[in-house]
Symmetry: C2
Subunit: 134 residues, 2 copies
Amino acid sequence: MKTMHKEHTLTKNQQIIFDLIDKSPEPMKAYSILFNVQKKGIKAPLQVYRALDKLVEIGKIHKIESRNAFIACQNSSCQVAKATAFSICEMCEKVTEISSAGLSKYLTNFKDKEGMKYSKYNLEFFGLCKKCRT
Amino acid sequence: MKTMHKEHTLTKNQQIIFDLIDKSPEPMKAYSILFNVQKKGIKAPLQVYRALDKLVEIGKIHKIESRNAFIACQNSSCQVAKATAFSICEMCEKVTEISSAGLSKYLTNFKDKEGMKYSKYNLEFFGLCKKCRT
DNA sequence: TACATAGTGTTATATTATAACAATTTAAAT
DNA sequence: ATTTAAATTGTTATAATATAACACTATGTA
């Protein structure tokens, strides 16, 4: 078997939208995506949101909740985990996905006061990126 | 000195909106807040959003980003920290603020690949609450 | 083939949030 | 007490984000 993950063959709309997000250096907002794919025949918000929903579901992209924006996954394990962490620069809005085994181990093993553990989480760190700090 | 924190005396609108959120057993959405305070003379979305912005800024409430909803702070240290963590039940939408010294210590000491540390973060855990698990 | 599931295209609308501007209140500093 | 700056308010309008509903089409699989 080549892989453990189901191969999600993307549909036309999903592929168009994924390609756009994937080559963007920064998170993209839904209506900016819409504007950019109109020449490819995707004309309505719902077409964009449906593709975004699916891409998020299968882990190809993530939503940056505090920014209502979408970024391509940098980390193959997200296809199964739904456990995400990002650093966000409050000056230039640069977003970087964090893939730290230590962090994810700590968070998946974290127990709340009732002893409950969580395999799904989203963590957003805020600060100034290297460039903006200098 | 009684306290280290500046006392933010809330204005009328801020107090009305804080009281409403504080006595709500669940996170409240902006337009639900608006509906509930109209009898008190707050008539426009902007009046609500302005109060919400201020209350978030001074740490009296927090925004649950994945739900676009607001919850009163359960944890006095938020007035200074802006470092928040929540558990969210995906079934009943119950939200609980997590205050764990261990977790906050781990996260504020966490270093990314470039050695960068972050004092501001927001973490949302997802799962099923005690009630919904049974 | 036939059936179920997922995806599409479309119109309309719901929900969340901010812009701009004039007036008023508050805090603090003379 | 008076002046001044900063914050808050009230208001109208509008921007930005997201979903409902419905008819139709494509795809995978039994």
